[in-house]
């Protein structure tokens, strides 16, 4: 193809952050009317590169050429003026405002009198044109995450954006919603828009992109290759820099005794609304129960109820036959329940404390760490040193505050703490979310090791592939109810249950 087909050209982009070279002489080209996937691990520099293109960051070096003319941006406004808009992972919507109000926010028109109804109509028309179903009068808080994403897209389209940059758009969506998003993206491309699709998920890039570029450690390892001309294994290799096995080895294992029983457990969420309804669940030693579900359907609350962090309104939770419901969080810890929390920074770790202080969080009450009323600093340090080696936590020393660690290393700190206590029951909430391909493999291997050692594991994940690969049994949660238990590992079937498609057939215990 001719050079003039490039709508955007980035040449030799260098962007430095303290201690990291986020983009090192990166070239990137975007053609008119294509979906260009930008692949890479977390921290590879994908978002940084695109933030430079969207006017959010100023590069230290390099040029950006749009439609053949060199440009320089001082703010995202400049970029939007040239038709480049970015949708970030975290939405920038105002909850209490309507869809239309959010789209109009920050624009010069309407100037004084709102006359929203006229704009409502315009929004609805625009939504229809691109296959983005919305209710313009709805308030943002009433919308699902998928719908909110549509509002973000419309916001950009309304501003006349020709190039839409989407940062990990599928990370918050259910399988069916992803399908719909892909359809929308296709229709937008048909209408002449160009799209940059940032992702670390290989299969998504393979299925949606016209061309794929790969970044690793801030450098381009592949530029504009066609999906048909490559393979998942090759892309993974380009992303990680080494061969990645897509199957972790799982030995057959007969489940042992029942470790966890939930009988008729109900609980409310933080807003006081029912989040769990009459949950019945059983989990045996040496068994991994994969709980699939779209985020926000009660998984978080389930994990918290079992680990004593949330009160249940009714029901019984038995760990090895002993009731732990509505007792302090300390009781499950004493019974050998380990918990890999969903929120690593706000729940799982204390950011300003050292690695040492973080790895002793669960065991500091017992010898050798505790000596009378004192904490044995040497014993704590030794333990931290040992775990740092064993779990390959990369940090200057065990005294480093954990806020300075990368996501993967932070997760390793949590895993080291939780798994070193030889748990009888492990509640693993989204243990691989946001991690690199390489790190994911490591976490999955550790989970299987625990299964080998006889732990009962409740695995909550939004990645169906992961659930299918690791689980001995699969259950699905939807709106606080277990809508399937012992479901066969079939993406379509599980996806349907996850979106409430088959609520009536509540349990498939018989199928087990």
């Amino acid at each position: 193809m001719a050079e003039t087909d490039n709508l955007v050209e980035m040449r030799g982009i260098v962007k430095r952050f303290p201690g990291v070279l986020a983009n090192d002489q990166v070239d990137f080209e975007l053609r008119r009317g294509e979906i260009h996937a930008l692949l890479g691990e977390n921290g590879a520099g994908k978002s940084t590169l695109m933030s430079v293109l969207a006017g959010l960051y100023k590069p230290e070096a390099g040029t950006i050429v749009v439609r053949g003319e060199p440009v320089s941006f001082n703010s995202p406004r400049d970029a939007i003026a040239l038709g480049l808009g970015m949708i970030h992972q975290h939405f920038t919507l105002i909850d209490s405002h309507t869809v239309t109000e959010n789209i109009l926010l920050g624009l010069d028109d309407p100037r004084f009198l709102m006359r929203l109804s006229r704009y409502d109509k315009r929004m609805a028309e625009m939504g229809e044109r691109f296959g983005l179903q919305i209710t313009p009068q709805a308030k943002i808080w009433q919308l699902s995450v998928g719908e909110q994403q549509r509002v973000e897209i419309l916001k950009m389209l309304y501003r006349g954006v020709q190039v839409l940059i989407m940062d990990e758009p599928t990370s918050v969506l259910a399988p069916q919603e992803i399908e719909e998003l892909f359809k929308t993206l296709r229709s937008m491309v048909d209408q002449g828009k160009s799209i940059v699709f940032i992702s670390h998920k290989l299969h998504e890039a393979m299925s949606i992109a016209d061309r794929i570029s790969v970044l690793r450690h801030g450098k381009v390892t592949a530029a504009g290759i066609k999906p048909e001309a490559t393979s998942k294994a090759e892309l993974a290799n380009l992303m990680v820099g080494r061969k990645v096995l897509f199957e972790v080895e799982k030995k057959p294992r007969q489940p042992g005794d029942v470790v966890l029983e939930l009988h008729g457990v109900s609980a409310d969420n933080d807003k006081g609304r029912p989040a769990l309804l009459n949950i019945e669940l059983e989990l045996r030693s040496g068994e991994i129960l994969g709980l699939a579900g779209v985020a926000g359907n009660g998984q978080t609350e389930l994990g918290e109820v079992i680990t004593g962090l949330r009160r249940c309104t009714s029901g019984k939770i038995l760990v090895n036959g002993k009731d732990v419901a509505n007792r302090s969080a300390r009781i499950p810890i004493e019974y050998g329940v380990a918990h890999i929390p969903e929120d690593r920074t706000h729940v799982g770790t204390a950011p300003n404390l050292s690695i040492t202080d973080n790895v002793i969080m669960k065991g500091y009450r017992d010898p050798p760490l505790a000596r009378g009323i004192s904490l044995d600093r040497n014993a704590a340090r030794e333990k931290a040193e040992r775990l740092k080696d064993e779990y390959t936590i990369l940090a200057p020393s065990v005294e480093t505050p954990v806020r300075l660690l990368s996501g993967g290393n932070l997760q390793r700190v949590i895993l080291a703490r939780e798994l070193s206590g030889k748990p009888t029951l492990l509640i693993a909430m989204q243990p691989t979310r946001g991690l690199d391909v390489g790190a994911i493999e490591g976490v999955q291997r550790l989970l299987l090791e625990q299964r080998e050692a006889g732990a009962a594991i409740l695995l909550v994940s939004e990645e169906l592939e992961e659930i299918f690969m690791l689980s001995d049994r699969i259950a699905v949660i939807y709106e606080g109810e277990i809508v399937g238990d012992g479901v066969e590992p079939n993406a379509e079937r599980v996806g349907l249950l996850m979106t409430g498609g088959e609520r009536s057939r509540k349990s498939e215990r018989a199928a087990r």
Binding site: P18, G308, H339, V347, A350, L353, I373, S374
Partner: protein, 375 residues
């Protein structure tokens, strides 16, 4: 904004060949903290000198005078230590609470309550007037600690059980404590209509350095009292608790991330009450030490705001109990010098500038400035 201005760079900015970049520091070396503090103090003194010169004063003479008035001789240094004693204890009280992110603004009230508790022991005849000194002092100490702790318990319990904001309750309880003390000195124990109680019997006085003047003449007239020893021991105990004990680990964990502490099975409700009581007890000890060591009676003006200065001291010491001691001595000196040259208000000014500089210097600890050549 048009595409024109987007291409030509920002029009409003100066186009210097260099750009100043602010970057967060990834590693803070151990020597940087003290160095930054010292530089901040030096800068503050220079700034203060500039202001003094501006109003026609002689900065060098003023500084020499302040230094002389606070640290110039054994006598004045001893007085400085007297001033530092209550500051150490209130500073420790605040450090403990702030470590857990409990904003105890009530050290002042707890200080008054400690003084009241110690006075009750003496004036209500709980220990007989002819009781030995050790027994009297011990009883006063226990009473002061208990009263201070009780004054910390109230907001702690309200916070833990009913989620009442402790900033409001501790602040309000200050006024109640002062009013309560006033009730006793105006009414119950008023000495001949004056707003103060009778002077305590000698057995209720903390020993002073000057008590040893017969053996060591050099100690003659030195007012430093045994409260300083209490304060120093308290500093070591608080340090040990915070950095070496299981309880201190829990306090630090809750302070850094309460949700993580909950997840680790730590009882936050109980710790909230306990830490507020501990904080109140330290401030109460301060009140006891002040009336037993300095005033020797209960009266209205026992504190020129020690409880509030304790907040500042705790922050300047970065909540480190051992650093609280030298910071308190510095502040004690400034308070004393303030008395010396009161009308000028210079020590106040300098105190303010030092405080401002130290707090501002925090930024340079967390961030570093870099000059970058423009492309």
């Amino acid at each position: 904004m048009s595409s024109e201005s987007a291409k030509s760079g920002s029009p409003g900015r100066l186009n210097l060949p260099f750009e100043l970049q602010v970057e967060p520091r990834l590693n803070i070396p151990a020597w940087l903290g003290p160095l930054v503090s010292v530089v901040a103090i030096v800068l503050a003194l220079l700034l203060g000198a500039f202001v003094l010169a501006l109003v026609g004063g002689d900065p060098i003479r003023a500084y020499a005078h302040i230094a002389g008035a606070a640290f110039g001789s054994l006598g004045v240094f001893s007085d400085t230590l007297v001033k530092a004693t209550p500051l150490i204890l209130t500073g420790l009280a605040c450090s403990v609470a702030f470590r857990m992110k409990l904003w105890n603004i009530g050290a002042e009230g707890q200080f008054f309550m400690g003084a009241l508790g110690a006075s009750i022991v003496v004036l209500a005849g709980i220990v007989p007037e002819n009781a030995p000194r050790v027994a009297t002092i011990t009883a006063m100490l226990v009473a002061g600690v208990i009263f201070g702790a009780a004054w910390g318990f109230v907001p702690g319990w309200l916070k833990a059980r009913l989620r009442v904001n402790e900033i409001i309750t501790t602040l309000m309880l200050n006024y109640i404590a002062i009013a309560l003390v006033n009730y006793f000195i105006f009414g119950v124990w008023s000495e001949g209509g004056f707003q103060m109680t009778r002077t305590f019997q000698k057995a209720a006085w903390l020993p002073r350095l000057s008590d040893l003047a017969e053996q060591f003449p050099i100690l003659r007239g030195l007012t430093t009292h045994f409260g300083l020893v209490f304060a120093a021991i308290a500093a070591v105990i608080v340090w040990y608790i915070l950095y070496r004990s299981l309880w201190g680990y829990e306090i630090r964990l809750i302070g850094d991330n309460a949700r993580a502490a909950e997840y680790a099975g730590i009882n936050i409700t109980r710790n909230t009450v306990l830490v507020m009581m501990f904080s109140g007890a330290l401030a109460g000890l301060g009140g006891m030490s002040e009336i037993a060591g300095v005033v020797h009676r209960l009266q209205g003006s026992i504190s020129p705001g020690y409880g509030f200065t304790g907040i500042i001291i705790a922050w300047l010491a970065k909540l480190n109990p051992l650093v609280v001691v030298p910071v308190s001595v510095l502040f004690g000196g400034l308070i004393l010098a303030g008395r010396e040259i009161q009308p000028a208000g210079v020590p106040r000014l300098i105190q303010g500038i030092i405080l401002f500089m130290l707090i501002a210097s925090e930024v340079s600890l967390r961030y570093r400035l870099r000059f970058v050549r423009r492309r």
